[in-house]
């Protein structure tokens, strides 16, 4: 198996792990972290696609850079909402969650 294929599969695996966490975990903080893992998975797929050619393809790298900016903004927004949410809404044992 080539190096690129290993990275591609790892990226896919990270995406699935994150998806699992997002669905299964009840705590909102864990859900946000799970989304970040999914982000990393997608970025890894993009970067391994870029590495297929020599020199590496710049377009996926530019996409990852932009993607990181988007992911950071989204995470920041999610964390702010988590902080200002009334505390009972972030409780892991919220009966309505």
């Amino acid at each position: 198996m080539s190096t690129v294929a290993i990275y591609l599969l790892t990226g896919g695996l990270l995406f699935v792990i994150g998806l699992h966490g997002l669905i299964v975990r009840r705590s909102l903080l864990r859900k946000i972290l799970a989304l970040n893992i999914m982000d990393s998975g997608v970025f890894m797929v993009l970067l391994s696609l870029a590495a297929r050619s020599d020199p590496p393809d710049p377009v996926p790298q530019a996409m990852v850079l932009t993607g990181i900016v988007v992911a950071v903004s989204a995470t920041a927004l999610a964390l702010v909402l988590l902080v200002i949410a009334p505390s009972r809404y972030t409780d892991e044992h919220d009966p309505n969650a």
Partner: protein
């Protein structure tokens, strides 16, 4: 000077609200003025883009002179123009409404920049021509929409977080699909990709990921669970924007991708699946709307149901393509916008929106009740409204292609809609004590809701124009 010759009207459709948004951040006390002037100028830019399209046909603009594959391109097509019009027509009354709706200073400070930014990002989505840019616009729309939901205060935060998580999941599925498409074909431009796409398993996986992501954002049953709390919990003008416009953006994108990129992969089975989900949405949404304990919940569940029609319309894209779906989206946007604005008025006057006690507020605001009724006529699909025209187009497409079941679902679901609309209107007729208003509803708030409701009816007469523009300049 011939206005249709100005080459960059489409760009102004994005730049005007974006600049206005920036100005509203810099000079917060001008927020209202900037909002209203920005809205009118954006309407003007959409008008200019229309003149350009009518005179010169579809257009490609290379931003900064950089062409594909590295540069960012915008494209103005018939369907994109219709979406720009839908956004502008609904946004102007909502902007006027918001002038009087937000009473606290902190809400005003936050609302205007975010709202104008949301408008700019929606226009950007309709005009984008490459997959990655589309991902960016999708993500921007969700982030801004989430903050707007959170404006309603502590009660809405939880709905906002749920909304954010679901939308981020949808965007990520879309982004992974974009990565797969780039990996397979080495390009992102939709038009160039459409010529290259082959029915391989990898492309199929990308199609599946994109569709799931976009259906999640469009809240098609059973992926709708995040919608009712977010749309019912947001401030009234924001509810109107979310239900009327934001959910349509992802549906439009899905339709665009299915009709261009993946036209060779979209099988009968796949569209049938969406149709079945659509019927599920109509039934589930209508039943929940009939049971809702609060007025805004009722209107939000009605959105879930009405989005089911778009699902049904997708089963007909092989025979009817864009026209019925676009007509339906525009008609629903006007009607649902009017409904949420009217519901906001009742809520403001009564201090709550509980169905059991809402009738005093309904009696006190006849203009808003009329607006709600006009919107209801369009949602039910009675002539001569925009909703009637959309259903007529869908029905004739279904009958022409011999799909009786879809035709039956279209007719039957109108009755369900009528039931929950009359559940509200009936309360306006009940006798009872006079209302002691809790909050003030200004004439502007009443008449902007009425204007949108009237628009939903008048659209029934404008349908020919929509059909022609879309048919003449498809993607």
């Amino acid at each position: 000077m011939d206005l249709s010759l100005h080459p960059h009207w489409a760009v102004w459709c994005i730049v005007v609200p974006l600049l206005a948004s920036g100005l509203a951040v810099l000079v917060p006390r001008w927020g209202k003025t900037v909002g209203v002037v920005g809205a009118l100028l954006t309407l003007l830019a959409v008008g200019g883009a229309t003149l350009h399209l009518l005179a010169h046909g579809p257009q490609r603009i290379e931003i900064g002179g950089w062409g594909a594959p590295l540069g960012i391109q915008l494209q103005l097509t018939g369907p994109a123009l219709m979406m720009l019009w839908m956004t502008a027509l609904v946004s102007v009354p909502i902007t006027l409404y918001a002038c009087d709706y937000f009473v606290t200073r902190s809400q005003q400070l936050r609302f205007w920049p975010l709202w104008l930014l949301l408008w700019a990002t929606m226009n950007m989505l309709y005009l984008s021509a490459d997959l990655f840019n589309l991902y960016i616009t999708l993500e921007l729309i969700s982030l801004v929409a989430v903050v707007l939901v959170a404006l309603a205060g502590p009660k809405a935060i939880r709905a906002a977080i749920r909304y954010l998580l679901m939308n981020l999941l949808g965007s990520l599925c879309f982004l992974l699909a974009v990565a797969l498409m780039y990996g397979a074909y080495g390009m992102l431009d939709i038009k160039m990709l459409a010529e290259q796409v082959e029915a391989t398993p990898l492309t199929g996986l990308a199609l599946a990921l994109m569709s799931i992501g976009l259906l999640l954002k469009s809240a098609l049953f059973p992926l709708h669970i995040w919608l009712p709390p977010a749309h019912a919990g947001a401030p009234a003008p924001v509810s109107a924007v979310l239900s009327a416009l934001v959910v349509k953006a992802s549906f439009y994108l899905m339709l665009l991708l299915w009709l261009t990129l993946y036209s060779s992969l979209v099988t009968h089975g796949l569209t049938t699946l969406i149709g079945v989900l659509g019927i599920g949405a109509i039934l589930w949404g209508s039943v929940q709307a009939l049971r809702a304990a609060r007025l805004k919940q009722l209107v939000a569940y009605s959105t879930v149901a009405q989005l089911g029609y778009i699902g049904l319309a997708i089963t007909l894209i092989d025979v009817a393509a864009w026209q019925p779906v676009l007509t339906f989206m525009i008609a629903h946007a006007c009607a649902k916008g009017a409904m949420f604005l009217a519901a906001g008025n009742f809520q403001r006057a009564a201090g709550h929106d509980r169905m059991a006690l809402i009738s005093t507020a309904l009696r006190a605001l006849p203009v808003s009740v009329f607006a709600f009724a006009l919107a209801g006529v369009s949602l039910i699909g009675l002539p001569p409204s925009g909703g009637f025209l959309a259903k007529w187009l869908l029905l004739s497409a279904a009958l022409d292609s011999g799909r009786w079941l879809i035709a039956l679902a279209l007719v039957g679901s109108g009755l369900l809609t009528a039931l929950y609309i009359f559940r509200v209107l009936e309360r306006a007729m009940r006798p009872g004590a006079n209302l002691q208003p809790v909050g003030r509803v200004s004439p502007l708030m009443e008449w902007s809701a009425f204007g949108l409701g009237l628009l939903a009816i008048l659209l029934g007469f404008a349908g020919v124009g929509i059909t022609q523009i879309v048919a003449e300049w498809p993607v």
